[in-house]
Amino acid sequence: MPRKIRFKLNGRAVSTDVMPHETIVDMLTQHFDLTGARESCGQGLCGCCTVHVDEKPVSGCLSLAWFLDGANVRTIEGLADGDNLDPVQQAFIETGAFQCGFCTPGFIMMTKKLIEQHPKPTDDEIRHYLTGNLCRCSAYPEIIEAVKLAASRVGLRN
């Protein structure tokens, strides 16, 4: 039996009918055409499915959609303001912190929260915080550079 859930998605109030077994990723892709958070491992290992629920990053592949009733959800699609990219997105582009790009939305969503908690992150803090994100193209050195660049710009802005 489907059940209606209401929540905030990238700042907009939305509602949809979800089946009990649907994950957050299933729902975002199939009901809202949002394909940034994607399922890769499906077992909580890789971070490709990361979204923010009530300001906390979670793995959308192991989270049931119905958990979102009443929640505030942000996905990678909600970061840019029109054509103005978020500083984290901009930093990933400028440092070339991806090749195929499959893992990138997950890394960017994590980096947003990382630099809130560690405004001047050390390499160790970055490695620990991003430990749940895997990049098969192994752009790790550039990703660390991107995080630091983003942190320095966000720091200047505040």
Partner: protein, 338 residues
């Protein structure tokens, strides 16, 4: 996935009622990071889910008074980041921070964590696993089927507490730290509330490895309590894994020490990654009492912790690794100021 119904009660009492009404094949679901993962793999096949996440006020962290109390729905990340826990009980904070990833720690609850299932390759390699290479028998998954890990690829398997039927490791880090610290678990069930010492929550596999916990059907974990002890500050959770990035323990030790000068007056030691349940190293604790904590004494205590260990084909290294993990943990804890 097998179809299931679900309920979303607003209180623990309602949850227990909903479970009883649903009958057999019901499960509570909290973060879902164990349960839903295993449902995707076709290993857990519940018919009813009782979602406990809508229960308000069951996620408090209380550090005043003579004990710590963590309510069941507190996320792992919240307890790991609690300043009092981090300062006075580093063993607890480290056991949580070194487990899983930030995303999973935000989802997973400290109550659900106690009931996570083994990561044994053969257990997880059921018919529903898309990456499985054939289905191997597992007594935990299908009682009576046999165990392919015994005599198989057993590098990750237990060296303590295994039986003829099962050698699967108890995977959690947090339960090991709680075992060292003499925690208790508060539960609410159809016949009322009770508290269980954590040492009595976990079963040895014996002939029935599919039975893992000493909980009655429908009992819900509501909180975890840890008695306060001066050993808390001189404590650590030392975890050795295949890689520095997140992974389950090959060997781990939760250690807390009371000392007078260089001498240990009381040691708390529990082992992870090496045993079929969270493992209290009583012999090692007794051996240390009254001793000065030198490197040699620490290693002797580590060896004592593994005196009863039995290796399989490929996991004999865990005995030496485990003993040295205990020794290192003791030295790390001793250097911390009380």
């Amino acid at each position: 996935m097998k179809p299931f119904t679900y309920a979303r009660p607003n209180s623990a009492a309602e949850a227990v009622k909903a479970f009883a009404a649903a009958g057999r094949d019901a499960r509570y679901i909290a973060g879902g990071t164990t349960l839903y993962d295993l449902m995707k793999l076709g290993i857990e096949r519940p018919e009813h889910l009782i979602d406990v996440t809508a229960i308000r006020g069951l996620d408090r962290i209380e550090t005043g008074g003579d004990r710590l109390r963590f309510e069941a729905l507190a996320p792992m990340s919240a307890v790991a980041a609690d300043p009092v826990v981090g300062r006075d009980y580093p063993v607890l904070a480290e056991a949580l921070a070194k487990a899983a990833s930030q995303q999973l720690r935000n989802m997973a609850t400290v109550g659900g964590n106690l009931l996570q299932r083994t990561r044994c390759l053969y257990f997880r390699n059921g018919a529903g696993n898309p990456s499985s290479v054939g289905v191997y028998p597992c007594n935990k998954r299908e009682p009576g089927a046999g165990c392919a890990a015994i005599g198989g690829l057993d590098r990750g398997q237990a060296v303590l507490g295994q039986s003829e039927a099962c050698t699967a490791v108890s995977p959690g880090d947090w339960p090991v730290a709680l075992t060292a610290m003499d925690a208790a678990v508060e539960v609410l069930g159809p016949s009322g509330a009770r508290a269980i010492p954590i040492a009595e929550l976990y079963r040895l596999p014996g002939a029935t490895p599919h039975l893992e916990f000493m909980l009655a059907p429908g009992e819900m974990i509501t909180a975890i309590t840890v008695p306060k002890t001066p050993a808390g500050r001189r404590s650590t959770y030392h975890k050795i894994r295949d890689r520095e990035s997140y992974a389950f323990a090959l060997a781990s030790a939760a250690v807390a020490l009371e000392m007078e000068g260089e001498r240990v007056t009381r040691a708390h030691i529990a082992l992870g990654g090496v045993a079929t349940r969270p493992w209290r190293a009583t012999e090692a604790e007794q051996m240390l009492a009254g001793q000065p904590l030198t490197a040699a004494v620490s290693l002797a205590a580590g060896r004592a912790a593994f005196a009863g260990a039995r290796p399989g084909r490929h996991n004999g290294f865990k005995i030496e690794l485990g003993a040295r993990t205990v020794a290192d943990a003791l030295m790390i804890a001793a250097r911390r100021s009380a």
